[in-house]
Symmetry: C2
């Protein structure tokens, strides 16, 4: 029974992570680092529904606030009319940075499901774990590694392509183009 529940949860998590990956591919189409996010609301026995979506548009929008998670949080708060996202699960293809992890804690998101890890800059376990800090007034339940191969593959392909383009132009990768993975 326990196993069946887990399988069901994995099935649900995979389904929404696929939607987050679809968002990441929108970033890819813009030439942005492909990171995507969806936020799912479910309170009590109500049916789960996606209330916020986002993908990385930092260079397109000329704004550091255009990370996938920040956009999804903004839209989810607007949908609920509340800054508290307590009955929500956030799905993101890459481990959040310090800003996005902080925003998730501030918004009191109940649960976060992460695809690939970001050992160089992630703040949900890699550099820090802002989701499990007893001195903060909120802790976030975190699930790691859902569809991690697929989430990592889209990033890897992006950077391989970028390196080839840079090499053809004899221009090295910019530091900021490396930091997000």
């Amino acid at each position: 029974m326990k196993k069946k529940e887990t399988e069901e949860n994995n099935g649900t998590d995979n389904r929404y992570m696929k939607q987050a990956l679809a968002q990441a591919k929108k970033a890819l189409a813009l030439g942005e680092v492909p990171i995507g996010c969806v936020i799912v609301f479910r309170a009590g026995t109500t049916e789960a529904r996606v209330i916020g979506r986002g993908y990385n548009r930092r260079n397109t929008d000329h704004s550091t606030l255009s990370h996938a998670e920040i956009t999804a949080i903004r839209r989810a708060s607007k949908a609920l009319g509340d800054w508290r996202l307590e009955d929500c699960t956030l799905y993101v293809t890459l481990e959040p940075c310090q800003m996005c992890a902080g925003a998730i804690v501030q918004a009191r998101v109940a649960r976060v499901v992460i695809g690939a890890m970001n050992p160089k800059a992630g703040c949900a376990g890699s550099i820090y774990n802002l989701f499990d800090e007893p001195r903060f007034n909120h802790r976030v339940e975190t699930v790691y590694g859902v569809m991690k191969e697929e989430c990592a593959a889209v990033l890897k392909q992006f950077f391989t392509d970028l390196r080839i383009r840079r090499k053809m132009n004899r221009k090295p990768l910019q530091e900021e183009e490396c930091e997000d993975v």
Copy 2:
């Protein structure tokens, strides 16, 4: 000479912190926790100018992204047409939370001037110091305690008034009303 320079810097910092305090008072007028922020741009020999202002509107806007610093960063990036705020100093009346400190690092703000500290939740030295983490790709020069009495006083008055109002209504302070200071 050194001393004179320091005095001059202090004079400039005080002048902009006063502007941040004026922003905090806008939050106060809305019944929000009074926190304010301004961002000043100065590149090379150009004259310094304020390119972003913000004050806490979290409850008014129903959004956790309506913290003073996030609003100021959004406006500053729009003014410069760039997500990088490398030639900027950010003035804020209270030590930033994990989200805002993270956004400041992500936006590569060069220098931050802080009024009052936030021992319970601040992430620029209190709980963490996200501004001085060698594993991140950017460090922030930080000045503490500029006009700290004035910055703390406006917050203290807000919470005293709130406690009186709550007591009259026999309603205790909500947890979220305490956490920001």
